[in-house]
């Protein structure tokens, strides 16, 4: 009901505005076109000035309101992220200056050079020196930005350090699956045709490959603080994206084409709770590529912790291969006895 009520009010408001507009047209005919034009011109020129002042004040206020809710004030949780933040500030400073300069000139000119009968516009068709000036100056600033940008870009996209821990993350509609290589440090081979979620092989691991036998699967990702991690990123059905806002990292997950990123977490989840002052803080993985109707709910969790905590967590995990074998042969108690030592061994 309220919907129709709002519609009715809207229609009413329309009619009122329209009547005023029509009346103002008659008035202008009575007053004379020239005079109406001058009056309107003064009003609009003044409004441009008002807009400039209110706009700048509004931008300031907006910053007051929302700055704390962005990540600009929160330290980046990875070393890459710190570089990205630093660049962000350089870029903000440069573009901010240009923004202020040009917007102020624009609206100030609009106000200052509003029509008066007294002035004759200045015939000024071109000036090559000026053109050169505003080709060269932006070019210089942009070179600086490109220089910084590419320096960092190559630093972040080069191969991960050799000692990086490898973790695989696979997206599917609409959740994330995580796999650790186990003690051998090698992820077992996969073949998507072997995918069989109901039989414990949601990732399509090829059990024929012995290096898969100690691989551990999880739904949450645990990382060790200060230890570089290399993510191997996959998708099963459509394109997803591993979005890590606190680490300032992001990479698409593309079916058939594995991608990678690497970074070094700087703060544990607990430390971030203190830094952000939010006791519910968690590192979230957001899917950043439209992947279907559940896209907005495709969340993963990363827990960053100390080496000890991590070891304890891992100790409780059993390689997926063993779980599958057990399920296939429930009557074989032997499998159970082997499971423990292996799980412990891979720490």
């Amino acid at each position: 009901m309220s919907g129709y009520f709002i519609l009715a009010i809207l229609v009413l408001a329309f009619i009122v505005i329209f009547q005023i507009a029509k009346a103002s047209e008659y008035v202008s005919v009575l007053k004379g076109e020239e005079q109406t034009f001058q009056q309107n011109n003064r009003i609009n020129a003044f409004l441009f000035l008002v807009f400039l002042v209110l706009g700048l004040a509004g931008a300031y206020w907006c910053n007051e309101l929302f700055y704390d809710r962005t990540l600009l004030g929160t330290p980046a949780a990875s070393e890459h992220g710190e570089k990205i933040d630093f660049m962000m500030w350089i870029t903000l400073a440069i573009t901010g200056l240009v923004f202020l300069l040009t917007q102020i000139l624009l609206f100030w000119f609009a106000y200052k050079y509003q029509y008066t009968e007294k002035r004759q516009a200045f015939y000024y068709p071109h000036n090559n020196k000026l053109e050169f000036l505003w080709t060269a100056v932006p070019a210089i600033f942009l070179s600086v930005l490109v220089g910084f940008g590419l320096y960092y870009w190559f630093g972040m996209t080069k191969d991960a350090p050799k000692d990086a821990q490898i973790v695989e993350i696979t997206g599917k509609q609409f959740n994330w699956m995580v796999r650790y290589p186990g003690k051998d440090g090698v992820l077992g081979r996969k073949n998507y045709r072997l995918t069989d979620a109901s039989n414990g092989n949601a990732l399509g691991v090829d059990w024929e490959d012995a290096s898969s036998h100690d691989d551990i699967e999880a739904t949450e990702m645990h990382l060790v603080v200060g230890k570089t991690v290399k993510l191997v990123i996959n998708a099963q059905d459509v394109i997803h994206d591993v979005g890590l806002p606190h680490f300032r990292m992001k990479m698409d997950a593309v079916p058939g084409i594995p991608t990678t990123i690497w970074f070094t977490p700087k703060y544990t989840t607990e430390e971030m709770k203190k830094i952000t002052g939010n006791k519910d803080f968690v590192y979230e993985i957001s899917c950043d590529q439209m992947c279907g109707s559940g896209h907005y709910s495709m969340k993963g969790i990363i827990v960053v912790e100390t080496q000890d905590e991590y070891n304890r967590w891992l100790a409780e995990k059993k390689p997926q291969y063993l779980t599958v074998k057990e399920a296939a042969a429930p009557a074989a108690p032997a499998a159970d006895t082997t499971a423990r030592p292996i799980a412990q061994a891979i720490n």
């Binding site: 009901m1 919907g3 329309f14 329209f18 103002s24 047209e25 011109n41 609009n44 809710r69 962005t70 570089k83 990205i84 660049m87 962000m88 870029t91 240009v98 923004f99 917007q103 624009l106 609206f107 609009a110 050079y113 509003q114 029509y115 004759q120 516009a121 015939y123 000024y124 068709p125 071109h126 053109e131 505003w134 930005l145 490109v146 910084f148 870009w153 996209t157 509609q173 998507y192 995918t195 979620a197 059905d237 459509v238 994206d241 979005g243 606190h246 300032r248 992001k250 990479m251 698409d252 593309v254 079916p255 058939g256 084409i257 899917c287 439209m290 279907g292 109707s293 559940g294 907005y296």
Partner: protein, 604 residues
Amino acid sequence: MSETTIQGQQVATVLHGHDDHHGHDHHHEESFISKYVFSMDHKMIAKQFLITGMIWAIIGGLFSVLFRIQLGYPDATFPILEDIFGKWAQGGKISPDFYYALVTMHGTILVFFVLTAGLSGTFANFLIPLQIGARDMASPMLNMLSYWFFFGASIVMFASLFVQTGPASGGWTIYPPLSALGQASEGSKIGMDLWLVSMALFIVSSLLGGLNYISTILNMRTKGMSMTRLPLTIWAIFFTAVLGVLSFPVLLSGAILLLFDRNLGTSFYLSDIVVKGEILPNEGGSAILFQHLFWFLGHPEVYIILLPAMGMVSEVLSINSRKPIFGYMAMVVSLFAIATLAFLVWAHHMFVTGLNPFLGAFFVLLTLLIAIPSAIKVFNWLTTLWKGNLRFTPAMLFAVGFVSLFISGGLTGIFLGNSTLDIHLHDTYFVVAHFHIVMGVASFFGMFAGVYHWFPKMYGRYMNNTLAYIHFWVTLAGAYLIFWPMHYQGFAGMPRRYYDFSNWESFKHFGDLNQFISTVSMIVFAAQLLMVFNFFYSIFKGRKVTSENPWGANTLEWTTPVNPGHGNWPGDIPEVHRWAYDYGKDGKDFIAQTEPVGEHESKH
């Protein structure tokens, strides 16, 4: 005087085909069908594009209001929505599938149907013959077909809104595999096929139009109208048409391959896929290939949308500053630079797809290069205003607003074009803010400037000024209120294309802002309806234009009668003696292009 006549005759011989046609029109009363429906008069075709575009704009805008309801009030229910949309809004709440369908259609409609067809189609058709001094387009027949293909595309897209599984819903960029697999999403069923068919028709329309614009501009300029005397509107439209002709076919090929993958079992974009537990046989395709094909059009497309607006803004700013546009040649060269670079930056949309980082570096460089011609344009516009004598007609207001928006949105492009920053900002609300300001709203401002400025030429009447002022100020303020705070959401890493943020510890603290944005967007939408109303009301009831040249402008369209017939000039086509921007020269308010250069005139 006799000289002009002779030259007029020469022009007439060159264009004899059209002149015959023109003469013919005078002897027969045109039927309703040939005058208003299957018209070959470029002015009527322009109006057809404009009005179709306006209808689409209302639909596309309404969709955004609907999905903003969801974002602003995620917990509320509105029974009226269920009354209207049935299962799509069960319990008065927009469903995720519906939300994504709305977002996708909003983007598709506004990018292609409104800001491409509605904008280029309208003003290229309307202004090219009038401003270069031609009686019609090179091929009025193809021109008419161009509109009717667009109409066909519109019908198919509109029909897709009503199929049972809904229209396409994978985003306007329709990335496969999502768009290729019916199992993956409701919108990837028949709705997606219709989307592709509609776009194929659309591309045909756009090619027919574009080729026509190019050949008309190159071949049919009146005597004296050298390329360097063309108004900037025409230059902008020219480069727009070139961009379209070179890039749309690539999208067509991408779309056709997608149709094959969908319906014929090919694997261009598909490989190693398990969807909802089903193992697909496709191997060897690349999902990323589609993105290359898409953005090879997609990036030029954003300039296809923007350049005509830039051209019209240049024209309107100059006329209403009563000053020549500053740096005409620099303006042309920067248009050219933008148009060229537009083809070389497409992969800046793909920095985080796993693109080779070395390749990415080139795209960073080329992308930031575009900022240079953009900066040149901004400073030239500012200098055009400097020491002018500014008349704030509604068109002028929108032109000034355009410059402000182009600055704001262009600067954020510098963030996104730098791949290092794009890692963090990609696919967040920062991108939404960037492209809405620089492309969406700015181009709309250019279009509004064009409509308010040339309405008197289209219909022989003025639009209501008071309504136009309200329209302008609400839209300018609203655009900033809506999109400025979105940068902050982007800095928080908040992803775009999310239906609901309330389950996210990292993003849920923007509820009040989302509500604010949604409310403003409804007000802004209402202001657009005001403009539409003003438009249609003024066609019939607007104040009549009494002089041929109401704005005191130099260009040729203002030498035609108030209501020009098919053929535009009743007598000979006028000859051109100078560029289009002699405003305020030698103490004269303006000197029309048709005026011969006087003996004592100063050089510039």
